[in-house]
Structure formats: C-alpha cells, structure tokens
Amino acid sequence: MNLGNCPIGAALNVTELTGLDALEVRIRELGIRPGQQVQVLKRVLFGRCIVAVAQQRIVLAPKLAACIAVHEMGESK
C-alpha cells in the first residue's frame, strides 16, 4: 500500500521511499520518512493527495505518492 492508494483518514506509518530520485531528500526533509506517522486527508483533482505530517499539510503529485509505501497503524507489515 502506498500514499496513492491508501484509505483516506487512516493513521499510517511510512515504511519505505522508493524511486523518488532527486526529490527523495526533500521529501524526507519535510518529514515523510520511514517510521513517521502520516495521514492522507483528501485526494483532489487528478489524484493529487493532501498528506498531514504533524501539523504540516503537504500536497503530492500521484507519481510521488505512489513511491511512498505505508501501512496502517496497528497492522503488522
């Protein structure tokens, strides 16, 4: 499961970042990195998703969201 296809509103844990190329460092710097708790608040036009990371709200293009693997909190990987 990744941020592009996970349920909206669920508490998620980031497990892995893959294929993000040059943007991987920036995404990690913004707080989206393995072990971090995140939540997809909404998906908007053309699949852009709004992700809550602590108090920040980060918008990700679908191809970026698909590179961020997550699992629901409380579930085993």
């Binding site: 294929g19 993000l20 190329d21 040059a22 943007l23 460092v25 920036r26 995404i27 990690r28 710097e29 913004l30 707080g31 990195r33 608040l41 909404k42 908007v44 036009l45 053309f46 852009r48 709004i50 809550a52 602590a54 108090q55 920040q56 709200r57 980060i58 918008v59 990700l60 293009a61 191809k63 970026l64 590179c67």
Partner: protein, 633 residues
C-alpha cells in the same frame, strides 16, 4: 571643526557598527513581511550573481548599529532543489563568520524548520532564531516554550509576529548578543544525525496534543473540491478583470489625459515663455511627457493587481490554485500558480508579468514571463475588430474568437518548446517537475503590510520599468521628428508621417512583410507604433491614410475601404489572408514597450532582448505561414 569635535565624531563613527545579516526560512514563513517591517523604504532589489533570482537588500537602522539585511529566497533546506534555493545555499556558504543568520522557525512546521536551523548551524554561522506563526501553532496544539527551545538548540530565540509588527525590538537585542557558533554546529554532520538532533530537540520543547482538524483543513474540504474550487478561481479572475476595467480603466484614462492635457499645456507654456525652440516643445510634449503619461497611466492598474496578488498569496489561497490547476500546466514544466499570470495576460500583459513573482522558482518565473506576452491582451482586440469587420464581415465574431484560440495555442506550443529547450533547474529526472507543495495556513491578510508591499512594488515598477519606457518613448518621437524632406523642419508636429524618418523606416521595412501579404508602408508603420502600444495600431493606420481614427473599430468607414484596397494590392488579390496574417503578427510580436520595460525589470536586458527578437521572428514565421496557406484556400 575643533579637535574635540573631530575626536568625538571619530569616536561616534567607530561606535556605530555596520553588520550583515541574512534572513533565512521556509516559504510563507513571514520573511519578506519581516524584511519590509525592519527596513521600511531603505531597500532595493538586486539579482543574485549570474542569475535572474532577485534578492531584497536593505538597511535596518538601530541605535549605534546599522544592519545590512539580505532577504534570501525561501527554502526548506540547504540541499537545493531549484536555482532560488541554490542562491540561498550559496549565500549561507559564502557569508563571513561575523555575519549573522536570522533563521525563522515556523511554529506550525517546527520539525522541518529545526532541520533548516541545524543545517545553518552546521555551516558555522552566528545564528539568531525567530519563531513565527506561534499563534497558529498554538491553535493546532503546539505549545512552545522559548526558554526550553533556546536551551535545546543553544541558539538565542525570539518570538516574532511580522504581520502584527511585533518582536523587532527583541530581535535587535538578540542580534547584539548573538554568540559565536556553538559546539552543536560540528556535532550534526549527516542527514540522519540532523534528523536525530531535530527529534531530540522536539522531545525537549514541544508539547504535542493530538493535532485537531484545523480551520484550514475545513476550508480546504470545500475549496479543493474541483466543482467548487475551479469555478471560484474563475470568479476571482472575472472579478479582477472587472476591477481593472471598471475601476482602473477610467483612472488610467484620467491620469493620461491629465498629463497629456493640462500638465503638458502648463509645461509647454512655460517653455514657450523662455523662448524654447519648436523642436524642444515637441520633444517634451510628444516624447518625454507622453512617456510619463504612459507610465503613470499604468499605476492604478498596478496597484489593483499588486493588491490582488498580495491578497491571494498572503491569504494562502494561491497555493490552493496551484493544486487545482497543476495538471493543466504540468506538460509545460510549470506549476499551477502560473495559471494566474497567464490568464491575467488576457486582460493586460504588464501586470501579468508582475504576477510571475508569485512563482516559487526562477525557471518557472522566466518560462511564464516568456509566455505571458502571447496572451492576447484587450489592446489587441481593437485590431482584430477592425480587420475582421473589414475582411470577414459575415463572421467577424468567429474570427475574433479564433484569435483568442490562436493565442492559447501559441502559449501551449511555445510552452512545450521552451520547456524542452531551456534546460531544467535540477538535472532531469522523471519526478523533478512533479507537484510537491507545502500548503500554508489560511490567514486574514493585514492592511499595513499589504499597503507597504504595494507601495514598494509600485515604486520598483515606476523607477525601473519607467526608465526604459521613457527612453523608448523619446526614441519613437525622434523617428517622427526628423524630416526626410527639406520642406519640413526638425520636430515639426505637422510633418506628414511619410516625410519623416519614421515614414522612411516604415517604407524600408515593408518588403520584409511582403511574404506575409502586407508589404505596405501603412501596415509596417502601424506595426512600429504597435511596438509602443497596440492601442496605437488603428490610430496609425488611420493617420497614414490621412484619416481620423474611427470611433468604433467595427465600423471603420473610409478606413475600411482604404485598408481593403491596400491589403488586396500588397497581397496580390488575397486581402483576407493578408489581414489574417497581420492579426497573427499583432498577436505574437512584442505587446508594448511597457511590457518590455517590465520584462527587463524582472528578467534583465539580455533575456528581454532575446524575447523581443524571438517574438518578432516567430510572429513573422507564423504570419507568413498563415498568408501562404490562406492564399491557397
């Protein structure tokens, strides 16, 4: 001056310190508002070396100390992802050990703010931190203890609210006691160490409650819904057009008539009174003051557009527009925010060029700034109406509509081409242009910072773009003032256009347009004045035929008859195709000299020269193509 006075003066000079400080922080953290608050009008805009990235540099005057402040482009990190961020990284790396870095920490994004702070500390700079957005953070559940934050980071930290104008005194005091870099500056070497350091600081200072759904989240549920968000954005654009036509339009006309009427009359009377020659009267009235009138007439429009841009940016709404429209512009390498200047360009290209400043990266600003002149502004509409009513009387409306479609196609086509030829800011990867955006909180814009920002932007427009406009205005006057026949004198306003250098240049240029079907001096003369302003094209066409400009371009009377004859003759019997080619040329070539001035202010002389030359070449190629295809039909 006595010895005592001289000694006292020297001591005072020695005591008055000059220091340098860099303002660093996330985008939308309040950096520029703080910069305007601290420096007031003591600021100027410079380009970072070898780039079109603008830096604001100003002086902050304190008792016994003058701080030279540099407002660096907003960034989330010193690992740059754009040219703007590279400028910030280089400024931090190149600062001297005595310079102070003022790092603004966003209380609503404390983790990533601390990460940036850690990077600046690692660079070994003297650092003072300022926490902004604390009120918003508190509503979201972050209760910050400044003393704990200072203890955990080892950095002197103050609370700032630039929008309300508070915290400046505390920041000034902190600057005077900012310590040399602490031991943690060398302790955090790698990314992971830095993340660990941030986590450790956070455990010491932040009391986290479960983040509630904020007011911004609730608003976003509505505004980021495509069915609501897109119509709302169109309504905002519509309201802007309404404001520019119903409010700015009459004010523009009034200012221009004030300068060209009573003011010009007063100046020429004064010049006549001191026995000035005729040519000087003409130079001042038709060259210099005409230019001043043009610059001043744009002021109401710029105030409205700058106010709108400030409101959209400061409220946080513009970032939402970027989210909604991003997909539409992705293919051109632009993010959704570029839709604002591109759409505004259909009203007037000048404020649309100014609106490119809302874009976060230099490449996007430049790319959009090169595309805006292809937006068909309202001044071009008069040309379309005239020629469409003369050459396509049965379906003039469809032709005019087709010109707007052509404008959109040129923007899309050139955007596609430029995106592939201009090179990327970061070495290309499949994801480098994908949308990654931190949404700012919605905020109520505040009046004083808004008025201050509008005044500063208008001043920059008047001073920088105004100079170029005046110069070009006088140059065009000179072309019209020099007679080519001994029957007329220099600067005589009564000289017919064909007996001036302007007429001679128009005549010599006309063969260039022969392949496009309008190789006629009336047309090339109109294109020359069209470079000054597209509003002048119809008037010049009328003047060169010895007629008055028609009140309604859709009912041109004798002008229509003469135009039909000229275009039919110059095109070998394909007048309609030539008229269409002329309209396409007017759509694509340089919109007006005010736009040239603004382009030069924003992107520099070299880019402007290339853009002007490029648009002329493209206009010629497209006009020739339209005519050559049209004559076959």
């Amino acid at each position: 001056m006595s010895c005592h006075e001289s000694a006292a003066s020297t001591t005072q000079t020695q005591q008055h310190q000059q220091t340098e400080a860099l303002l660093i922080g996330h985008p939308n953290v309040g950096k520029s508002t703080l910069f305007n608050l601290l420096t007031g009008s003591h600021q100027r805009v410079i380009n970072a070396p070898r780039t079109t990235v603008e830096l604001s540099v100003g002086t902050w005057k304190l008792p016994g100390q003058t701080v030279r402040l540099t407002d660096l482009p907003g960034t989330y990190s010193l690992n740059p992802q754009s040219l703007d961020e590279e400028v910030t990284r280089d400024a931090v790396a190149g600062a001297s050990p005595e310079d102070t870095a003022i790092v603004l920490l966003d209380a609503t994004a404390l983790a990533s703010s601390l990460y940036l702070l850690g990077q600046v500390l690692r660079a070994g700079r003297k650092v003072v931190a300022g926490v902004t957005m604390a009120d918003v953070g508190q509503k979201r559940g972050t209760l910050l203890n400044l003393a704990q934050l200072e203890a955990a980071t080892g950095v002197r930290t103050v609370l700032l609210n630039p929008r309300r104008g508070t915290g400046a005194a505390q920041l000034a005091e902190a600057l005077t006691v900012a310590p040399a870099p602490g031991p943690q500056a060398v302790a955090v070497e790698e990314h992971e160490d830095l993340f660990d350091w941030v986590a450790e600081v956070l455990t010491q200072v932040e009391q986290l409650e479960v983040p509630p759904s904020s007011r911004s989240d609730k608003i976003d549920r509505v505004l980021l819904n495509g069915w609501v968000g897109l119509p709302l954005f169109l309504a905002v654009i519509w309201a802007t057009f309404q404001l520019t036509t119903t409010v700015a339009g009459p004010l523009q006309d009034w200012l221009e008539s004030l300068v060209s009427g009573p003011f010009t009359e007063w100046v020429t009377t004064a010049l006549t009174w001191v026995n000035s020659p005729e040519w000087l009267l003409s130079a001042v009235a038709d060259g210099l003051l005409a230019g001043v009138g043009t610059v001043l007439s744009f002021l109401p429009l710029m105030v409205i557009i700058f106010a709108l841009i400030y409101l959209l940016e400061d409220s946080g709404y513009l970032a939402r527009v970027a989210v909604l429209t991003d997909r539409l512009l992705e293919g051109m390498g632009l993010d959704g925010r570029a839709v604002l200047p591109l759409v505004l360009g259909f009203g007037c290209n000048v404020p649309a060029l100014s609106a490119t400043k809302t874009l976060p990266h230099a490449r996007q600003r430049l790319l959009t700034g090169l595309l805006v002149p292809f937006s068909s502004c309202t001044a071009r509409l008069v040309i379309y109406l005239l020629l469409a009513s003369v050459f396509f009387p049965g379906y003039a409306g469809t032709v005019v509509f087709g010109m707007y479609v052509a404008s959109a196609l040129v923007i899309i086509g050139m955007g596609w081409v430029l995106n592939r030829t201009m090179g990327r800011e970061r070495k290309g990867t499949g994801n480098s242009n994908a949308l990654l955006l931190v949404l700012p909180e919605y905020q109520w814009p505040r009046l004083v910072p808004m008025l201050q920002a509008i005044a500063l932007r208008c001043r920059a427009f008047m001073v920088k773009a105004g100079g170029v406009i005046l110069l070009l205005s006088v140059a065009v006057w000179l072309l019209m003032a020099v007679p080519t026949s001994n029957d007329y004198t220099f600067g005589d306003a009564e000289t017919p256009a064909q007996h001036t250098v302007f007429g001679a240049v128009s005549e010599s240029l006309s063969p260039v347009f022969a392949p496009a079907g309008f190789g006629d001096w009336h047309a090339s003369a109109a294109l020359i004045t069209g470079f000054v302003a597209k509003e002048a094209v119809v008037g010049t066409l009328a003047t060169t035929y010895g007629l008055e400009e028609p009140e309604d371009p859709a009912e041109p009377g004798d002008l229509g008859t003469l135009l039909r004859e000229s275009f039919t003759e110059s095109s070998g019997g394909h007048g309609a195709a030539a008229a269409l080619a002329f309209m396409v040329f007017c759509l694509v070539y340089t919109p007006c000299l005010v736009a040239v001035g603004e382009q030069r202010r924003l992107f520099g002389g070299r880019v402007t020269a290339l853009a002007t030359g490029g648009s002329l070449a493209l206009a010629w190629v497209l006009a020739v193509a339209v005519f050559q295809i049209g004559r076959l039909l």
